[in-house]
Symmetry: C2
Subunit: 580 residues, 2 copies
C-alpha cells in the first residue's frame, strides 16, 4: 500500500461535538467522517480496521460451526407485528412506509427474520441444531446519538442466532458462542471481561456481556481480581455483609434529630458510623382490581445507609415488576410523616417491609421514627418490630464486598459493552409459532439463543483502551496497517528511495500489511500522522542513518526509537510483530 | 466444507411468482429466500457466490487504484435537496423520517454523499484524481419488483466515483474503470459486451453499459460480430441505408388506396416492396409563450415503412426534449386528414418535416396524400415537396444494417445490464458547489464519473446465461463451491469414507473450494441437489468403483461421467479446473 493512494486527511483539532477520546481520535485521524447525527462514513483507512475486525469475527464464528447468511436491512412490519415488537419497541425502531404505503422497519436486529426463515425450512429435530450469523449494517434511532461509533445510529453488527430442540441444546450452543467470543476478543488484542448480565426473565447463566475494560466505559462491572467472576452491577449478587444477627444490646430510644433528614446528617449528629443507620425507600405498585381499580400496595425497602438501591433487582421481586416511587401523599398516609423520617417501626398503615440481606442481619440500628425530627436508636428486629416480610438482595455491590464466589473481595471497574450472548429460550418461537417435529412426533417451539458483536463499536472501544497524547495505539490485529515505512528525504536521495522500496517489498513478501509514506511530506508531518493513526510499527529510513548502515525502528508504544542495522531490519520487524 | 453444516434445502418446484429461470433456480436451489416483495435473504450457499463476486470486483477495483470506503445506507435529505434530486427522484426513492421528524432516504446511490465528502476534504488540484468505491446494500423502491435478484428492491451494489480536475482527467479515470470492468466480467467467466449507452446530455463516449448476453435480457443490443462495437439500441447509430439519392423516374400520382391505412396494406395493394413506402408520425411540442400560452409546434417525422421510431433519439433533437404524440384534432388541423393517410406533400398548415437519414435519400417513394383513402406514388424530394427541414437519425437499428464502424453488418442480441460506467461531468459538483483550487488558483468544480456494478444482479444474470434442465451451470469463479465429493454408501463402507476423506483433504490442501456431501443421502438425491445448485465439478466415490480402483468425475456441463483411477483423480480435477 502506498500512502499517496490513500485518502489521508488528519486534523489538528477534533470537532467540538466529539466528547470522548475515541471519537476525537477517529475524527482527527480521518477514519470516519460525519454525514449526519450518529451517521458516519468509514474512510479507506478506517474501513481497513473494520474489515479486520469483521474477518476475525467471521473466522471464529465459522470455526464454531455457525453459517454466514445475509438478511435484508429493510424488513416487513408484519414480522414485527407477529413477535409483538412492532408495539413494544420504542422510537429507536426506524419505521417507514414504502410507495404502496406498506409498513417496514430498517432492522436494528433480526430475531424476527431469522425465526421466519427457520420455521419455513426446518421441520424436524434431525435438522437441529442450526446456528446462523450475518455481518450487517443496522440502524437504531438513538434519541441522542453521540460518542462517534460508540453510540451511532447506523452501525455494523455481527448477529448470530441458534436454534435447538431443547434447553440443553441451547446451553451447548450458548457455550460454543461464549467460547467463540472469548477467542475473538483475545485475537482482537483487547483487555476484556465476560460479564454475567441481567437477562430479564430467563435467569441463571442465561446472559453474558463482553466488555472492553476502559475508564471511560458507561457500565460498572463488578469483578473478582482473583477469579473469572465478573458481573454487570445490574446483575451482580450483593451478599449479606453481616453473617449473623447479633443479640440486642441497646434499648429502643426515640431520639430528637432536629432537621436531620439525611442518614449522613443523623450519623454525624449522633456521632455513630454511617453503617449503623438504615435508609427507608418507599415504593408503590398500582394493582388492577375489578372491584376497586385504584388499589395501591406500599412497599418499604430498607438498605444500609451506605448502600444504594438496585432497581433491576427490585423489579424482579414478585409483584414488583411495575413498581414506582411512592408519592409524598402516599407516604403521608402510610407513615404519617414526611421523607427523611420514615421507618419500619409502627407504621400508620400496613406496609410490606423488604429488608436487604445486610439490613436483615443488623442489630441496634438507627432508622426514622415516623415523626418529623425524630429517629429511633437501638432498633432490633423481632423485639421492636416484626421480622421483615421479605429478605432480599436489593442493593448495588460496592468495591470491597466479599466476592459471591467466596474467593476474596470484588473490585469495580468500568467497561464498554461490545458483545452480548443471550439465551432467548422460546420467546420468539412461541410468539411466531415456529415449531419443529420433536422426537415424539409432536410440534415443539425452537429453543433459541442470540449473540451480538458491535463491529464498529469495537473500533471505538479499542481506542478508549489504547491511546496516548499522540493518538491511537491500535492492537496489531486490527490496526489499519501493521507497519509504516517513512523514507526521509526520498525526493533528494536515490539510496533512500531504493532501500525503502527494498524493505517495503521484502515485508510484503513476508505477508506483512505494510504502507510506505510516499507523499513527500517532512518527517515531522509523517510521524505525527502515523502516530495519530496509530500504526504499531514504524521504520524510518534516511540518508544520515544509511551512511552508518542503520535504519530506525520505533514501536508505537515505545518512547524511543531503536537503531537497527539495515541487514537486520527485516528480521527485527518480524520479531517485534510476533511479540505484539 | 461439509454439506451437513450447510443449510441445504432444495425444492422440486419453484414458487409461482418466479417468472424467469434465474429466479426459479435460485429459489429451488435455496440460494435466496423471499422476505418481502423484492426483498430476499441470501442463504449460506447463495452468499458464498455473492462474496466471490464481491471479491473479484474488489480486487480489480483496487488494482485500478480505487480506494474502498463505506458510506451510510441512511442519508440525510439535505444532501438530496442540495443536488435537486429530492424533488427529481420519483417514488423509487425510499424516503423516511427519523424520531425527530427529520427527512432521510435509504440510499439507492451515493453521488450526494461522496460529493459532500470530497468537497470537505479535497481543496487542491494536487490532491486529484481521487476514485473511491464501496460495496453496499442499497434500496430502490421499484413499483413492481420481480425476477428475484434481477429487479429486487434491496440489492448489493458496487458504486465508485471519480473526481478529476478536468475533462481529460475524467476521461482517463473513465478508461481505467472501463478496463477494470472488462477485467472483472472476464474473471467472472461471463459472456458480456460493453455497450455504448445513451447518456443524456453528455454525448460522445460518455457512457457504457456492461451487459451479460442472454436471450431473456430486457435490453436490445446492437453489436458487430466482427468488432468490439456494441451499443444499446436506444443509442446505436442507424446509418443511411441509401448512400445517395437517385434521380426521379416516376411522376407524382395520387392513387386510390381504399381502406389502406397501414403501410403494409398499401404496399401489398400496390404490389410494391414495403421499403418503397414512407411512414408519417406526427409529434407536437407545447411551447410556453408569454403572449399566447397555448402555442403548439407540429413536427412530421418520416421513416421508411419497415423502420421504427427511436424515441430517445427524437427527444435529443433541438426543441424536441418535451415532445408528445399529436392528438387527432391537431392532426386534422395540420393535415386535413386522419392518421393512415398523412404525408409531407402539401400539408394544410406549416409543419416542420424531419426525415430519417434513409428517407432523405429515397426517391420515387409512396406516402399518404393527406386525403382519406389516397396515397401519393412516385414522390421525390425537391420536385414534389421541399427538402426536409431536418435530416436526422431517428430510427432504431435493425439486424443487417451496416455497422457504424464500417466493418460489415450488425446483429441484435439481448442483454442484461450488470454494470454501467458514466461520465457525470460537473452535474453534482456544480449543484452542490463542490470546488477545488485549480492550477490557476481559482475554484473549479470537480469533474466526476460514476461506475456501478450490480453485485447481486450478477448472480441472476450469470444463471440466465448458464443453466440447463437440471439447474444452474455456475462459472467456476463464482460457484458456491468449485468441487463436490459425493460418497456413495459411506454409512456402510469404511473404504468409501476413507477415500472420500483423503480426497477431500488433498483438495483442500491444494487450495480447492471443495464440499463433501456427508448428509447420508441416496446418490439420486445428492446428484440432483448438486446439479441444481450448479457445482462445476463432481466426484463420486463408491464401493463398486473403488473395487476397480476407479472414481467418477463429472463436469457439470458434460452429459457423461468419466471413470478415473483413484491415484490420478486429484490431478484430474485440478486439470479440469484449470481449463474451466
Amino acid at each position: 500500500m502506498k500512502a499517496s493512494q490513500f485518502f489521508i486527511s488528519t486534523l489538528k483539532e477534533a470537532p467540538a461535538e466529539a466528547e470522548i477520546i475515541s471519537h476525537q481520535l477517529m475524527m482527527r485521524a480521518g477514519l470516519i467522517k460525519r454525514i449526519g447525527s450518529g451517521i458516519y462514513s468509514y474512510m479507506p483507512i478506517g474501513l481497513r480496521s473494520v474489515r479486520k475486525v469483521e474477518q476475525i469475527v467471521r473466522e471464529e464464528m465459522n470455526k464454531a460451526g455457525a453459517m454466514e447468511l445475509l438478511m435484508p436491512a429493510v424488513q416487513p412490519a408484519e414480522l414485527w407485528q407477529e413477535s409483538g415488537r412492532w408495539e413494544q419497541y420504542g422510537p429507536e425502531l426506524l419505521r417507514l412506509k414504502d410507495r404502496h404505503n406498506r409498513d417496514f422497519v430498517v432492522g436494528p436486529t433480526h430475531e424476527e427474520v431469522i425465526t421466519d426463515l427457520i420455521r419455513r425450512d426446518v421441520k424436524s429435530y434431525k435438522q437441529l441444531p442450526v446456528n446462523m450469523y450475518q455481518i450487517q449494517t443496522k440502524f437504531r434511532d438513538e434519541i441522542r446519538p453521540r460518542f462517534g461509533v460508540m453510540r451511532g445510529r447506523e452501525f455494523i453488527m455481527k448477529d448470530a442466532y441458534s436454534f435447538d430442540k431443547d434447553v440443553d441444546g441451547m446451553k451447548a450452543s450458548y457455550d460454543k458462542m461464549f467460547n467463540a467470543y472469548t477467542a475473538i476478543f483475545k485475537r482482537l488484542g483487547l483487555n476484556f471481561r465476560a460479564v454475567a448480565a441481567d437477562n430479564g426473565s430467563i435467569g441463571g447463566d442465561g446472559s453474558h456481556e463482553f466488555h472492553v475494560i476502559a475508564e471511560t466505559g458507561e457500565d460498572d462491572i463488578v469483578y473478582n481480581p482473583n477469579s473469572d467472576y465478573a458481573a454487570n452491577i445490574e446483575a451482580a449478587e450483593a451478599v449479606a455483609l453481616i453473617a449473623e444477627r447479633a443479640a440486642p444490646t441497646q434499648t429502643l430510644t426515640k431520639t430528637h434529630t432536629p432537621s436531620k433528614g439525611k442518614c449522613e446528617d443523623v450519623a454525624e449528629f449522633l456521632g455513630v458510623p454511617l453503617d449503623k443507620n438504615v435508609k427507608s425507600i418507599v415504593l408503590a405498585v398500582d394493582i388492577e382490581n375489578q372491584e376497586d381499580d385504584s388499589a395501591t400496595q406500599i412497599f418499604l425497602v430498607l438498605l444500609r445507609a451506605d448502600h444504594t438501591l438496585n432497581e433491576i433487582k427490585v423489579s424482579k421481586l414478585a409483584g414488583l415488576s411495575n413498581y414506582r416511587m411512592a408519592t409524598e401523599a402516599e407516604i403521608a398516609t402510610a407513615f404519617n410523616t414526611t421523607p427523611g423520617y420514615i421507618g419500619p417501626v409502627a407504621t400508620a398503615q400496613k406496609v410490606t417491609i423488604i429488608a436487604d440481606k445486610t439490613v436483615a442481619n443488623m442489630s441496634d440500628f438507627i432508622c426514622g421514627a415516623n415523626e418529623v425530627d425524630y429517629h429511633h436508636v437501638g432498633v432490633n428486629w423481632g423485639r421492636d418490630l416484626p421480622e421483615p416480610d421479605l429478605i432480599a438482595d436489593v442493593r448495588n455491590v460496592v468495591a470491597g464486598d466479599p466476592a459471591p464466589d467466596g474467593n476474596g473481595t470484588v473490585g469495580i471497574c468500568r467497561g464498554i459493552e461490545v458483545g452480548h450472548v443471550f439465551q432467548l429460550g422460546t420467546k420468539y418461537s412461541e410468539a411466531m409459532k415456529a415449531t419443529f417435529l420433536g422426537e415424539n412426533g409432536k410440534p415443539q417451539p425452537f429453543v433459541m439463543g442470540c449473540y451480538g458483536i458491535g463491529i464498529t463499536r469495537i473500533l471505538g472501544a479499542a481506542i478508549e483502551q489504547n491511546f496516548d497524547a499522540k493518538g491511537i495505539l491500535w492492537p496489531q490485529s486490527i490496526a489499519p496497517f501493521e507497519v509504516v515505512i517513512c523514507p526521509v528525504g526520498a525526493d533528494k536521495s536515490e539510496v533512500v528511495r531504493e532501500e525503502a522500496d527494498k524493505l517495503y517489498h521484502s515485508l510484503i513478501q513476508a505477508g506483512v500489511d505494510v504502507i510506505i509514506d510516499d507523499r513527500g511530506e517532512r518527517p515531522g508531518v509523517m510521524f505525527a500522522d502515523w502516530e495519530l493513526i496509530g500504526v504499531p510499527h514504524r521504520l524510518t529510513i534516511g540518508d544520515r542513518g544509511l551512511k552508518e548502515g542503520l535504519v530506525e525502528y520505533q514501536n508505537r508504544r515505545d518512547t524511543e526509537a531503536t537503531k537497527v542495522p539495515v541487514l537486520e531490519i527485516h528480521a527485527h520487524v518480524l520479531a517485534q510483530m510476533s511479540v505484539a
